[in-house]
């Protein structure tokens, strides 16, 4: 794989997915959520490369994204729908990013799962993330984390 600017790829992917699928936008860099009502989702991807991808965002931000995604009123959404949309956000960001990392090779995405806040970046790889960025969005901050498994 050629030398890649992960941060640039990550921010481009976030912009594209938010604008296209959520009719929303990243307003600029933000400070990661530190607690409170926060939702996090993580999934693993397998191929070349392998790794994990995680998203974390405040519940109000997740609720607004879910409303935009589904075209529903914010008040009408269930917690289950909001959680599913957060998982789908992780899925789309991950798939879109990994496609950019390796456009020739196919890959497999594991089903995304909601995980407790703080554990979304725990991978067991024992290495710092390849990229981690936070973006201010409507209702809060979206943090995305990419871990790549070291190639033996």
């Amino acid at each position: 794989m050629t030398e890649l600017n992960f941060d640039q790829l990550l921010s481009g992917t976030v912009d594209s997915v938010l604008e296209t699928m959520f009719f929303s936008a990243a307003w600029g860099p933000g400070e990661p959520e530190t607690g409170g009502a926060v939702l996090a989702s993580r999934l693993a991807f397998h191929g070349r490369p392998c790794g994990t991808f995680a998203v974390c965002l405040s519940e109000p931000a997740a609720r607004l994204l879910a409303a935009a995604f589904l075209g529903e009123d914010v008040e009408a959404l269930t917690d289950s729908q909001i959680g599913q949309v957060v998982c789908e956000l992780a899925n789309m960001l991950c798939g879109s990013l990994v496609s950019k990392l390796e456009s020739e090779e196919s890959f497999d995405l594991a089903p995304p799962e909601l995980v407790p806040f703080g554990s979304e970046t725990t991978t067991g790889f024992g290495a710092p993330p390849a990229a981690r960025q936070s973006f201010e969005i409507e209702g809060g901050v979206l943090t995305v984390t990419l871990h790549l498994e070291a190639v033996a």
Binding site: S16, V17, T20, M21, A66, F69, L70, G71, Q81, Q84, V85, C87, E88, N91, M92, C94, G95, S96, V98, S99, E102, S103, E104, E105, S106, F107, D108, L109, P111
Partner: protein
């Protein structure tokens, strides 16, 4: 003529999103039929006819790859056009799914226009 469309995806919110987007495209849709994986979709296709299938790839029980393969091996079902809607936009995956029998491919994220254009291309503009 109104199209009956099947949406195959394990995520209920993604199925709802695709339904919403198809609605935005202005396509004349009769009925939507939904399935949570390939197995569920094949079962439904044994009970009702649809004009178009939109399917994800990564799904439990029976993924999109096997689902398209099974449709293609069925004398009746192979006449139903399948468009893959997936986050995997890698060249090899697109080629693989088209080789298996899919007639179109839309990569997520996508604009409503992209889905409409692909549907119209696959159906030969006769919508």
């Amino acid at each position: 003529m109104a199209l009956n469309i099947m949406i195959v995806d394990d995520s209920p919110v993604m199925r709802a999103f695709i339904r919403k987007v198809v609605g935005l495209t202005g396509l004349d849709v009769g009925e939507y039929c939904e399935a949570c994986d390939g197995e569920d979709a094949l079962k439904s296709l044994g009970e009702r006819w649809v004009d178009l299938v939109l399917t994800d790839i990564n799904m439990p029980n029976m993924n999109g790859e096997e689902f398209v393969r099974r449709m293609e091996s069925d004398d009746l079902l192979r006449s139903i056009p399948v468009i893959v809607v997936s986050t995997d936009s890698s060249h090899s995956r697109v080629q693989q799914m088209m080789a298996l029998g899919a007639k179109g491919y839309v990569s997520k994220p996508f604009l409503p226009e992209a889905l409409r254009d692909e549907v119209e291309r696959v159906l030969g503009g006769g919508t």
